[in-house]
Symmetry: C2
Subunit: 338 residues, 2 copies
Amino acid sequence: MSARQVTLAEVAKQAGVSLATASRVLNGSTRQVSEDLSERVLRTAEELGYVPNASAQALARNSSSLVGLVVHDITDPYFSCIAAGVTRVAEEAGLVVVLGTTGRRPEREAELLSTLRAHRARAVVLAGSRTTDRAAQARLAAEIDAFTEQGGRVACVSQAKLGTDTVVPGNRAGGRALARALAELGHKKFAVLGGPSELVVARDRLAGFKAGLSDAGIAPPVVVNGAFTRDGGYEAAMELLASKSRATCVFAVTDVMAMGAMAALRERGVRVPEDMSIAGFDDIPTLRDTVPALSTVRLPLEEMGEIAAGLVLDAGGDEARTVRVAGEVVLRASTAHN
Amino acid sequence: MSARQVTLAEVAKQAGVSLATASRVLNGSTRQVSEDLSERVLRTAEELGYVPNASAQALARNSSSLVGLVVHDITDPYFSCIAAGVTRVAEEAGLVVVLGTTGRRPEREAELLSTLRAHRARAVVLAGSRTTDRAAQARLAAEIDAFTEQGGRVACVSQAKLGTDTVVPGNRAGGRALARALAELGHKKFAVLGGPSELVVARDRLAGFKAGLSDAGIAPPVVVNGAFTRDGGYEAAMELLASKSRATCVFAVTDVMAMGAMAALRERGVRVPEDMSIAGFDDIPTLRDTVPALSTVRLPLEEMGEIAAGLVLDAGGDEARTVRVAGEVVLRASTAHN
DNA sequence: GCAGCGCTGGAAAGCGCTTTCCCGCCACGC
DNA sequence: GCGTGGCGGGAAAGCGCTTTCCAGCGCTGC
């Protein structure tokens, strides 16, 4: 049907104006174009079904309308919520978001950044959790430099120390507040289902939790580490049970892990919360209907995505900005008095 | 640090070869380049940290490495699972996926397609459910034409009739099989929590379910429609309860809706499955740990995403291919004998 | 009355890359 | 020995757009 491709040149010719004029009309140029020419161009563009070639624009302007979003696993509700926030903001700004997934391999983060750089993405939101892997971190830092060097902006969700804009959830404070709240329920012996030790998010939550227990004069918890996934939680809980720990309350550093842990407890006939209280972190919306309802620390995930996107799209100074978002302890049915 | 931008020309000059040669070396050209030149180019590219400008490549080749993925809501696990499948395949193929979300507004689908066309995306996977809205459908069809016209490929997940490659889940057959299985449990009176009537997926599942009931000689179910979301399920269930229906088993056309429905039942003191059995559709992995475990029809969502991506990336004939994936009834604790 | 200015339109030079076309070279066959 | 190919290398013509630069024109201000 339509010709292979309608170009600006065709529109210009058809409208009887120069390429320059057509370009000025069809893209917010600072230059004025007279009313009638302008209208003529607009009309022919419409008639011909002209769609500007984004690659050509990107090339000519040396900047594209792409925004990168890097997550570990889009299937994980933690990331999909953040993604929702990011895409909403980006789409409102008329930008297009490109989604990269690392599959939790730290080195993929740098690779993706490099790809994004190749595409001249205008900005990138890194939602993956920072690791303590020095080499990966260094490569990532180098890529971030290269990216910003080239005029792109980078924001991280929950990774500080990279010299970029950052949205920092109150992992430490949240963990601490949660520990105190649980201590107030009367629990004396705690266990923690921690994430992989190289994940900073996991470490922070754990550290905060320990601090909170210490505030309450309670002995440090048993810690069992597992993967940052549902199965990780399941396995960690199994390990915990096998260890014959005397804990009456267990904190999984992630709601998703808590789900796995609850499955494990159920399987082993441990009732929640009668035999064991359990709490998570994040307050994943999709998981709010579980029974028993999970006590947790609420993070405004979608909003965090929005904030990150906002930071990264709003030119801002060259100073790295940090926005802290607080977690709010929400005690529900999965934690009982002891 | 690094220069503003390393271009192919710089690499070529530094390596003492022509632009053409450098290009041939650095991108799989059919043309041969002698061993030593080739090696020299490779080395200087490496040294200079050369990254090809994807926009320029796209422009010159008239095809980019972008793959579009259009979903209604990335937060919905149904879509995020599909998205995971699509991104995995795309990334393996060295492509970049751009994520568009419609927020369930049918007209956004066409808009996004147009944007994707502007970016010369090589392919698009449309995961949103087809509606019966004639106008939106027509616009979408036009955009799809324009897109394919331009050399792009389009695949749909669960939308047939658009003349594109399609991955079709057995919505009808699944609904039917589920109805039969539930009938075998002894239920006689059924209710269905349906999605918005203009959504084809919802209609198909409902139609299949009705057919299954009819197979079993059971009267048609009461149908209450709600939004295709957790809250939609909640409200539909509330409405059902208010209607004093005598149903002993309710089928929510979506697991996510079933979650909302279960919350409503719980709130109203209706025990599942003792007082009411409930079944969903999709078998969302994230929701598998809920209590009581939800009976449902399992769809290999991630795999569906992979298949769709596979179809769309594999040049294939010009014939529209259709891949059917079957749903498998999984009876769990949320449905009891009656 | 004219220099000077602001404003609009067009020509054309890129943006960084791919690819066609051409050229020189060598091996080969008659 | 010379025409024929085949092959590796380079020059250059785009790809579709933006943007600079220049030309023309109608004003204002002295």
